[in-house]
């Protein structure tokens, strides 16, 4: 039996470098300050056993054998699940050839499948991975029509060249102001468009071979888009509907009276707290951005960072998304940290530390069908992060990361740049171009 005394990434990396096989490694983490991602209370001195890429056991006491990682009391969490992400779809946001999120000149909308565009070699994936992100739920943005196509879930495992997990798991739909703009200028136009498209999709589903027979030539939905939307109607793909204003949320919830099998995820939802009871009663999950507290538009007038806390208090299942950030890498822990901070302001509502961590791990995993992800419980995928401090503090960072039990490199293109220019390093006497950090 071999024990790695955990004292930072270097020790782990060195130890693993000696022993790492290509396949997932069995190991045991001892002395973990565990927050398991389910919202359960933090537990100190925890032992996590990993076998065949899965969490075999979570308990206390020593390791039964094999490689042992001593976390020395450090925080251990599941890998973060980045929902609302563009990881793998964007290398440089402003360079169109490396930005797959919009397809404004395509004749297709709902039929677009982000799985076809994901690039696991994107440097943004490495940057996000060393921040503790192990899974991402990626999607494009509607550009021509209301529909943004199918999103997909990926693993960020550096050892896995085919990271796709769930393809075509959900369809992105813009309503509210964006939907109104895309549909021709009003919310009424957006709903007319949505309902027409869904009824066309229903017609397709009834008889695919006859789809389009007898229709006028100016039909507004292509066959491919109709086929894609038929999966929204029958519930085999979720509908992630971007909506903010309270009245728009109510109206979207009504869709299920016409399409009872439709599975809705509300996204954005800035004014969700005003209709939290109705969202809870409809049993519809929400993904929302914590850091929104400005009336950025007339549909987010009531935006507050108490939004998520108030919805959760009303019984809504809410995951965090980091959409709309300036960088392609998410700031999930910092976002979740705001929710804890908000609870400490008189008159505001936040989340507990454990709830906030659940909102960036198990909850988005559950909402988007990443079963067995985002939690450290027996049977779960061994996506595990050891931190050098409280995971939600901006000062903290991961020191070791496993995905499906595979030890991950703690480097990225950014760490190479930083190492090359680190003022603590001695001058080599040659241009920086000759310095190639590991």
């Amino acid at each position: 039996m071999k024990t790695i005394h955990f004292s930072g990434a270097a020790a782990i990396a060195a130890a693993i470098a000696v022993t790492a096989p290509a396949a997932a490694q069995d190991f045991t983490i001892v002395n973990a300050r565990l927050i398991d991602g389910t919202g359960a209370a933090e537990r100190s001195n925890t032992t996590i056993t990993v076998r065949n890429g899965r969490v075999a056991n979570v308990g206390s006491g020593g390791a039964a054998g094999g490689t042992v990682v001593d976390a020395q009391g450090a925080y251990v969490t599941p890998g973060l699940v980045a929902a609302g992400s563009v990881l793998g779809l964007v290398e440089v946001g402003g360079v169109a050839s490396t930005n797959e999120t919009r397809s404004s000149k395509s004749p297709y909308s709902a039929a677009l499948d982000m799985a076809d565009a994901i690039n696991p070699a994107s440097t943004a994936i490495g940057v996000a991975r060393i921040e503790g992100v192990t899974r991402a739920v990626v999607s494009g943005s509607p550009s021509g029509d209301l529909f943004g196509g199918f999103g997909a879930a990926i693993s960020l495992d550096a050892t896995d060249p085919t990271p796709l997990m769930n393809a075509a798991a959900f369809q992105v739909i813009d309503m509210g102001e964006n939907g109104a703009r895309r549909a021709g200028g009003s919310r009424a136009a957006a709903f007319a468009r949505l309902e027409d498209a869904l009824s066309e999709a229903a017609a397709y589903a009834r008889a695919p071979a006859r789809y389009g027979d007898g229709r006028s030539e100016d039909s507004l939905l292509t066959r491919a888009d109709a086929a894609a939307l038929s999966r929204v109607i029958d519930g085999s793909a979720q509908a992630m509907i971007n909506v903010d204003r309270a009245s728009d949320i109510r109206r979207v919830l009504q869709l299920r009276s016409d399409y009872p099998r439709m599975k809705i995820v509300l996204a954005g939802v800035a004014e969700g707290w005003l209709v939290a009871d109705e969202i809870a009663a409809a049993n519809v999950p929400v993904v929302a951005v914590p850091m929104r507290n400005l009336p950025a538009s007339f549909e987010t007038l009531a935006a507050t960072q108490s939004n998520i806390g108030r919805m959760v208090a009303a019984g809504v299942k809410v995951g965090v998304i980091d959409a709309g950030g300036p960088s392609v890498s998410p700031q999930l822990p910092q976002q979740a940290g705001q929710l804890v901070a908000q609870g400490r302001i008189p008159g505001a509502t936040g989340l507990s530390h454990e709830q906030a961590i659940a909102a960036i791990t198990s909850i988005p995993a559950d909402i988007f069908g990443l079963t067995r992800s985002g939690r450290i419980t027996p049977g779960a995928r061994a996506d595990i992060v050891i931190w050098d401090g409280d995971p939600l503090e901006t000062a903290s960072a991961p020191t070791a990361i496993w995905i499906d039990g595979n030890e991950q490199p703690m480097t990225s293109r950014q760490t190479k740049l930083a190492e090359r220019y680190n003022p603590a390093n001695a001058d080599t006497g040659l241009p920086k171009h000759y310095t190639r950090p590991r």
């Binding site: 935006a303 008189p346 000062a395 740049l417």
Partner: protein
């Protein structure tokens, strides 16, 4: 020439007081008596800000980051007459002072954001509110951010609740010469004049790189490349140098009594701003991402005889930190933004601490209405990343990135940026360690006046938010 111009400004200010109205520059030829020469209105749109009512306040049992790199554990801060009157471990406070027991909580100076568009890109961000870029020509040094600031922007109140007490509003980066920036006190006001930081120098916003060449190149106009950017900088600065020379000659004649009204040079508002830069009265705040371009701008400044106060965004500042130090130019940066455009592709999380470690002046800035609420967290992030990379920067040192350093780069460091005796009483009492993600201000004072109090719910609500859903919420 700077000193001469300053003397003239004082002289004409006195003249203005005497005759109460400003005369236009178009007066006809007159005799050489300087009292009859055309006068220019000095300091139009002047600040009308005056501190709000304050009481002598003593905050005891506080841990303090003083903003200048110092830390006091278990300290006391006395605010009297709106100013920092005393700070230390043993402070004599008047018996009638309002006593606040911080109970070991933290006190810092009010945060300064050197790069904000609150007011000129306000919420709601509808087209009708888009007043931050004069996108009609690449050289618009005649426009001023103050004329596009909407004081009812709800963003100001959010920044206040996050401990921001002073902020610099800049024109956007569409243009090579974007116009003048304005420094504001973060007080609710009906007018921008009511927010203006009295006596703070104006800035000139300049921009490098992708934005100007994209905006104008796409219209088939210059600049359409980085070459064009620099050519147009140089063409414009050359005009400014010649303009400055004409006015210097005129000022000299005024000084020695030989000036004749008919000889007064024609006034050009665009070049006036640039002359102010050449005279050191207007500070250049230069949007620039790439290291090689920043180096080019530093040479440009030498070529025409001005100084760059700070590079903004400066995503690659870490590559040229030595040049920044050498030139006395600050870098205002994000902690971790990167990848949103080609010129931000080489962003690293250690940018701020690496610049600091090289002995240059590092600043954490926001450029964002949400980011301005998190400048303490962003600084904490950068601090930790730097130390993880092997540096040894103290938390109290990191607070200079949102304290003294932006104050210096804005030319207001004799009044704000730190809790030194005699400075404005801009103070934040935090509910926890202010470098923690969980910390929020409990109370915020500007010039000793309590303007935000989380406990009592005292917070400003802009006219726009009255009668709207969520009015007066904790936000």
């Amino acid at each position: 020439m700077s000193r001469l111009r300053m003397a003239l400004a004082l002289a004409s200010a006195a003249a203005l007081t005497a005759c109460a109205t400003a005369q236009a520059d178009t007066a006809g030829p007159k005799s050489a008596s300087s009292s009859e020469l055309p006068k220019r209105a000095e300091n139009p749109y002047a600040s009308t800000y005056a501190p709000y009512g304050s009481q002598t306040t003593v905050i005891e049992n506080a841990n303090i980051y003083d903003g200048a790199g110092g830390k006091i554990m278990g300290g006391t801060l006395l605010i009297e007459g709106g100013k920092v009157a005393a700070i230390g471990t043993a402070v004599d406070a008047p018996a009638d002072a309002l006593r606040i027991d911080a109970g070991g909580k933290w006190v810092t100076p009010g945060i300064i954001d050197i790069h904000s568009h609150l007011g000129n890109y306000p919420s709601p961000s509808v087209d009708a509110h888009s007043d931050g870029n004069e996108v009609t020509g690449p050289v618009t040094s005649e426009v001023e951010a103050q004329h596009g600031v909407w004081p009812q922007d709800p963003g100001f109140s959010r920044a206040l609740a996050a401990g921001v007490t002073t902020l610099h509003i800049l024109p956007g980066s569409a243009n090579l010469f974007g116009g003048r920036g304005v420094t504001l006190r973060n007080v609710p006001a009906r007018t921008v004049q009511g927010m203006k930081f009295p006596g703070a120098p104006d800035s000139l916003k300049m921009a490098c790189g992708e934005n100007p060449k994209r905006v104008y190149g796409s219209q088939g106009r210059m600049p359409g490349s980085r070459m064009g950017n620099f050519a147009l900088y140089r063409i414009t600065w050359q005009k400014a140098v010649e303009y400055d020379r004409q006015w210097d000659a005129w000022d000299e004649k005024v000084e020695n009594g030989t000036a004749k009204a008919k000889d007064i040079p024609k006034r050009d508002l665009q070049l006036d701003t640039l002359r102010g830069v050449l005279d050191g009265e207007i500070l250049v705040q230069n949007h620039c991402y790439r290291a090689d371009e920043m180096a080019g701008i530093l040479d440009l400044a030498k070529e025409f005889g001005y100084k760059v106060s700070a590079f903004h965004h400066a995503v690659e500042a870490y590559k040229i930190a030595d040049l920044l130090k050498e030139n006395g130019t600050c870098a205002a940066m994000w902690a971790d933004w990167w990848g949103f455009k080609m010129e931000s592709y080489d962003g690293i999380r250690e940018n701020i601490p690496f610049v600091h470690a090289a002995g240059a002046c590092a600043i954490t800035h926001s450029d964002d209405d949400i980011g301005i609420q998190r400048l303490n967290q962003e600084s904490a992030k950068a601090l930790a990343d730097g130390n993880r990379a092997g540096l040894n920067i103290l938390p109290e040192t990191a607070w200079t990135w949102i304290g003294m350093n932006p104050a210096k780069a804005l030319g207001i460091d004799d009044e704000v940026g730190s809790l030194e005796v005699g400075k404005r009483g801009d103070v934040v009492l935090w509910n926890g360690d202010p470098l923690s993600v969980y910390a929020r201000p409990e109370k915020v004072w500007l010039d000793g006046a309590l303007l935000y109090d989380a406990g009592s719910g005292m917070r400003p609500v802009s006219d726009f938010e009255l009668g709207q859903p969520g009015e007066g919420d904790t936000k």
